[in-house]
Amino acid sequence: MSKKDVLGPYIRVNDPNLFVNQVAAEPGGEKVRECIQCGVCSGSCTTSEWWQYQPRRVIAMIRAGMKEEVMTSASTFYCVSCYKCTVRCPRGIKPASLIHAVEAIAEREGYRPRTRTMPLYRSLRNSIKSGRIWELGTFIGYYLRVNPLTAIGALPTAWALFSHGRLKLTPPKKTRGADDVVKIIQKLQSMKTETGGVR
């Protein structure tokens, strides 16, 4: 779908594949249509300076159907989930959740914007399967996904924690809970959750 089409006058508002409808269907994206573009979210955003398109802009682009632009820009992945936008939004839209909804769609549809945060999320999500997060393991996994050299920067932190007995070298003992988690995840997959499980 080329930009020209989506931006043309004939947006089919009810087309489920229309980006805005996809987002609306995603948990957290429900209220995307109610935004009045006041900009309080971008005005409050802790990390705006790094975003290419800031939250309000992202919502506008979603409604304009500019899926490619949104998905390929790494903007949303700068969200640190501080929820300032959410508590200040005059329309109760929960922009942070909406941003995550976009990220979820990106993940599901295989978009791979240039950001290390996405792989981090994936490593983290993946490590949930073992019941409890083992940070060292998770992060090693992450650094292997991305460029391992970047780990060097983090070494001081790691060392500081380790030398104070705050970084576990061995994974936590596997609990029965771990199996439950896996079962739950499988169940969700069997529930056709490819749209966040809400359509």
Binding site: I36, Q37, C38, G39, V40, C41, S42, G43, S44, C45, S48, E49, Y53, Q54, R56, R57, K84, R88, P90, R91, G92
Partner: protein, 1114 residues
């Protein structure tokens, strides 16, 4: 006659027909019993539609009509009129609502149609039983009540007054004018708000047809259109409006300053004030919240607040007058009072109570230092002479009050000097004698006669000498004995005797070591006196622990500073005597057991714990009692040996003899003595005037509630400077040195002015017109009116909860109304736009939609903010050359005549517009240029970047919100509120000023946010509606009223009680109840209540309702 029903189904354009199959409904109706014709038509309410009905009535002989269309609310009257013009009784008509109830509530065509049919059949069956009813009319009272004196209320009042009809204009505040008078310029024309409003205000104030109730509130409303009864509460203004010339002298002398509401706390006003110069009425008002806690706490009712307030303004002489209105002992009580006032002081809840006692002492000392001029004698206006026995606090206070009442009073004192225990028991270093002498002298100058060295043997003698009443204030100066072996030998002295000797200057021989027994003030005084007499070692022996010690802690502390030892939990068992002289004292250890009656834990001796303290003297201070022997036998005494009196009037068992003070209460303190003396004085005065002694004596002082403490800066209480300990030994110089002027004024300025007005009465002194009446009471006024217009306005949204905008937390963040005052020439800064630090801002940010368009606060748009923010920008640029203004908006809403043009003008003037609702306002700088500024962090949404803009001042355009009591007011006037709590109009388009309650209209912002032009238009509209009713002179009232079948009525009178309009009365002779047709509103309560089903309500008969229900069901 045969009943022929015609049914008419309306399409309402497509409103109904799109979801209801009107044709089939009509077809269905045809088949219903007694229906002779059924039609459907596009607009039944149109003329052709109505003609259709009329024709059928004429040609087909239709005599019952059913119209299935919209809500009866809309068109019932229309169709009733049509039916009537065709010659039928208008009540032979019934309406089925198939729009609001069918087509508008579902898209399901089938089910909508089904329901429509059910409703039609119900109507058809009902109308069959309809009976002809006659509409009744009642006269309309031509007077009108208008609630709220803002621009809306004023406008409406003037319009109606123009027609020479009476208007009652009720305003809660001291002046009319509302919010408009607070504003500076008005958009878009920029004419000065005051300039265009004040003429109307004065007109309203002077019009013979407008009766103004300012500072008043409506408290009750009853009745119905044309005939309302209204109760108005007139709050006491304490200034007689008609006499006050508004000269303002009272405010000049008023010592009390509080934040000015009209200036939103940005400046101060006096307790006696006028909200603003052009106020209408121009009379001042005194802000009084009851009595201050300190004054209430004082047993003698001394107005502490009064003199503290005056001291804070340096008016020490006047302060003294305030005290002397109640009692003469400023210097004495200023030193030795137990100050219950300070324990009640509200300031104590913030940091520390005001040092009231020390302030009292200060003003007394100040007067003495300055040299007191002789008091002018009070002329004896009353014949009767009064004898006062005993010259202690009680006696003197009693004499003082009576003399000022104009009685001749003689005080009889046994000893050589007046003052009682004030003189003999309180040592020089706490209460110098000249202080006491001065205050007694003052009383003598007033005319109190004091006979010294004259014991009173018996009372009848006094009566014989011609005294008409007697007050006994002989105190309780008899020392209680220790009751241990050996206490009669020389060397053991009673504290009182000891103190008295030292007070009278006679030498007292004491050894090096002295033991004082007791834990009361007498003990402490004795111990400290002994030290001053050079005794090396003084030990106080007290049987309980420090916690239970009755003496004042501060005194105990000083005593210890002066080197006195205390033996707690020890009691004497015997005085050790060696060859006839005192050789010491044997004591025993005590331990505390259960709490006794006095709430103090009772001490018990510990076996075998005796120990000796060797000493040369023992001073006994274990309590005092009444010396019964010295009192007339014929008096009645209690088991404690105190005199029995009536608790309220202080009468003894002997006629004309009153008693009070220690002689009644047992050992107490000065202030309670004074209190008793004053009460007795009241009784004696009444007794001599043959007036009722009891009438409203009991607690007449009501205390002010919840004193505002917000934003009070902490400030420690002034400390009393003390004489250095080393200088005290062997000297009787005062220990407490007293405040200097500066300290006194500062300390007094800490007062929170709990009751606002301090009742210092300075204002009364200066008011030449005698227009001030501090005793004014509130009034309830009853009004009869035919119509009511509500114009109660709005209140401004308080942005404090939106913490991210920093209001109340960061300086120079203002609300729109605060800014209005600031730019106003009459405002706190005289129209200068200034920052807290006093300079002009270089950059100002104006933030729109604060609290509006925000589901966290108010969903609605407040309509004004865009425009007045534009106005602000214009004014700022006009006043401050080179200033930069920034508007932060979401959407510019300049829909109004000349509004868009004004927007354009401000754009041209160079104001910068950013489209974006700011995220936050902070003072945390991230770049050098942000240092010391307010930084507005926002997204410039049209560029799509977050930006930080440093400014000096931020103005928050706050939402308009309903008055906080909107609910209560709505309930009182029988109208309802919409979702956002604005008053609900009858119809948003077709009837915007009327309400569902006939005769009650809503105008201005109480109905919803709107600007001045719209408000004025509404006001005039409402006036027109009211005048229409007035000129018509009568209104049709409910026909569907209740009637009682007197044959069935059992006379149980349940209905009489039930009826909310008290329209049902009981006919004694017939033993039945009867409905007053004029009063009945047809609510039906009585119908349901009647146990014998004797009551039916016209047009809602059981038969009709059952038929209707049947129709719905089949």
């Amino acid at each position: 006659m045969e009943k022929k029903i015609g049914v008419y189904v309306c399409h309402c354009g497509v409103n109904i027909s799109q979801t209801v199959d009107v044709e089939s409904v009509a077809e269905f109706a045809k088949k219903l019993p007694n229906v002779v014709v059924a039609r459907e038509y596009k607009f039944m309410c149109s003329d052709p539609g109505q003609e259709m009905i009329k024709n059928d009535i004429k040609e087909l002989g239709v005599n019952r009509v059913v119209v299935a269309s919209c809500s009866p609310q809309m068109h019932e009257p229309t169709f009733r009129r049509a039916v009537q013009t065709a010659g039928l009784n208008p009540y032979f008509f019934e309406m089925a609502n198939i729009r609001e109830h069918c087509s508008w509530v579902t898209e399901d065509r089938a089910r909508a149609s089904e329901k429509a049919k059910a409703l039609v059949s119900a109507a058809v069956r009902r109308v069959f039983f309809h009976e002809p009813l006659m509409t009744r009319e009642v006269p309309v009272n031509p007077n009108t009540l208008i609630v709220g004196g803002g621009i809306a209320g004023i406008q409406a009042a003037l319009e109606i007054a123009e027609s020479e009809h009476k208007v009652y204009l009720v305003e809660r505040e001291p002046s009319i004018g509302g919010h408009m008078i607070q504003m500076d310029k008005t958009f878009p024309t920029l004419d000065c708000s005051a300039c265009i409003l004040t003429p109307k205000m004065t007109q309203a104030g002077s019009s013979p047809y407008i009766e103004l109730f300012s500072y008043s509130e409506v408290v009750d409303v009853s009745g119905y259109v044309g005939n309302f009864k209204v109760k108005v509460r007139k709050k006491p203004r304490y200034v007689i409006t008609k006499d006050c010339t508004g000269c303002g002298e009272c405010a000049k002398v008023c010592p009390v300053e509080v934040p000015a509401e009209f200036e939103l706390g940005m400046s101060k006003r006096k307790a006696t004030y006028r909200p603003f110069a052009q106020a209408v009425p121009g009379a001042f008002v005194i802000d009084k919240g009851g009595k201050s806690p300190c004054s209430v706490a004082c047993p003698a009712g001394v107005n502490a607040h009064g003199y503290v307030a005056l001291i804070s303004k340096g008016k020490f002489k006047e302060a003294m007058e305030v005290l002397r209105r109640t009692m003469p002992f400023a210097g004495v009580c200023g030193r030795v009072c137990t100050h219950p006032c300070e324990s009640e002081c509200e300031r104590g809840k913030v940091d520390e109570p005001i040092a009231i006692r020390s302030l009292k002492r200060f003003m007394a000392d100040y007067e003495l230092k300055a040299g007191r001029q002789k008091a002018r004698p009070v002329e004896a206006t009353k014949e009767a002479r009064v004898a006062v026995v005993g010259s202690g606090p009680a006696g003197l206070a009693c004499a003082y009050d009576l003399v000022r009442e104009g009685y001749k009073v003689t005080v009889f004192e046994t000893s050589s000097k007046a003052g009682g225990l004030m003189r003999w028991a309180i040592p020089e270093y706490r209460l110098p004698k000249e202080i006491l002498d001065n205050e007694i002298a003052y009383m003598q100058e007033l005319g109190v006669e004091i006979k010294l060295n004259t014991p009173v043997k018996n009372l009848s003698e006094l009566f014989n000498q011609g005294y008409k009443a007697i007050f006994l204030g002989t105190g309780a100066a008899e020392s209680v004995k220790l009751g241990v072996p050996g206490e009669d030998i020389p060397g053991v002295v009673q504290a009182l005797d000891f103190l008295k000797q030292s007070a009278s200057g006679s030498k007292v021989g004491l050894g090096d070591k002295v033991v004082v027994i007791g834990g009361g003030n007498a003990a402490v005084d004795a111990a400290r006196t002994a030290r001053r007499m050079g005794v090396k070692e003084v030990t106080v022996v007290y049987r309980r622990s420090r916690a239970e010690m009755p003496a004042y802690p501060e005194e105990v502390a000083e005593m210890e500073n002066e080197g006195v030892k205390i033996q707690f939990l020890a009691a004497p068992v015997r005085i050790n005597v060696k060859d006839g002289t005192l050789a010491g004292i044997k004591c025993i250890r005590m331990e505390l057991g259960e709490a006794d009656a006095s709430g103090r834990r009772h001490p018990a001796p510990v076996k075998g714990s005796e120990f000796d303290i060797d000493c040369n003297n023992v001073i006994v201070a274990v309590g005092q009692s009444v010396n019964k022997a010295a009192l007339p036998k014929e008096l009645a005494f209690t088991g404690w040996g105190t005199v029995v009196v009536d608790q309220v009037t202080l009468e003894t068992n002997i006629d004309g003899v009153f008693a009070g003070g220690d002689v009644v209460s047992g050992p107490s303190d000065v202030i309670n003595g004074v209190a008793a003396g004053k009460e007795a004085a009241v009784s004696i005065d009444r007794y001599l005037r043959r007036a009722d002694l009891r009438k409203d004596r009991a607690n007449y002082r009501e205390m002010v509630k919840d004193v505002p403490k917000k934003g009070v800066e902490l400030k420690a209480r002034a400390r009393m400077p003390l004489l250095p300990v080393k200088e005290r030994a062997g000297s009787f110089a005062q220990v407490e040195l007293g405040f200097d002027e500066k300290t006194a004024i500062e300390e007094a300025s800490r007062c929170l002015n709990c009751a606002v007005c301090s009742e210092c009465l300075e204002c009364v002194k200066v008011c030449e017109r005698k227009a001030i009446d501090h005793e004014m009471k509130e009034e309830i006024i009853e009004l009869d009116v035919g119509n009511i217009i509500l114009a109660t306005g709005y209140q401004l949204f308080d942005p404090t909860p939106m913490v991210q905008y920093g209001y109340g937390r960061l300086d120079n963040v203002l609300t729109s109304l605060e800014f209005e005052r600031m730019v106003n020439a009459t405002g706190p800064t005289g129209g200068k736009i200034l920052l807290k630090e006093g300079r002009e801002p270089k950059r100002v940010g104006l933030i729109h939609c604060v609290g509006s368009r925000d589901s966290n606060y108010h969903e609605y748009c407040s309509r004004l903010c865009c425009m007045h923010s534009l106005k602000f920008a214009h004014l700022i640029e006009e006043r401050i050359p080179g200033v930069e203004c920034f508007e932060f908006y979401i959407d510019m809403r300049s829909a109004g005549k000349g509004f868009e043009e004004f927007y354009n003008r401000v754009l041209k003037e160079g104001t910068i517009f950013f489209r974006g609702r700011p995220g936050e306002i902070t003072n945390v700088a991230e770049r050098p240029e942000e240092e010391g500024k307010l930084i507005v962090q926002f997204e410039d949404t049209l560029v799509g970047r977050q930006r930080r803009l440093p400014v000096d001042m931020v103005v928050l355009s706050c939402a308009l919100e309903p008055q906080k009591d909107a609910d209560a007011v709505a309930r009182m006037f029988g109208i309802s509120c919409g979702p956002a709590n604005w008053f609900l109009e009858k119809h948003p388009k077709l009837d915007p000023v009327a309400t569902m309650t006939d005769g009650v209209f809503v105008i201005g912002c109480c109905q919803g946010p709107k600007d001045i032009p719209d408000t004025v238009a509404q006001a005039s509209a409402a006036a027109a509606r009211v005048l229409a009713l007035i000129s018509k002179g009568k209104v049709a009232v409910e026909t569907a009223i209740a009637v009682i079948d007197e044959d069935k009525c059992s006379g149980c009178r349940v209905c009489n009680l039930m009826c909310p309009y008290s329209a049902i009365s009981y006919i004694e002779d017939k033993k039945v109840s009867r409905v007053n047709e004029v009063l009945c509103k047809g609510c039906g309560t009585c119908v349901a209540a009647c146990p014998s089903c004797a009551i039916t309500q016209k047009h809602f008969t059981t038969q009709q309702i059952e038929a209707e229900i049947e129709g719905v069901l089949v």
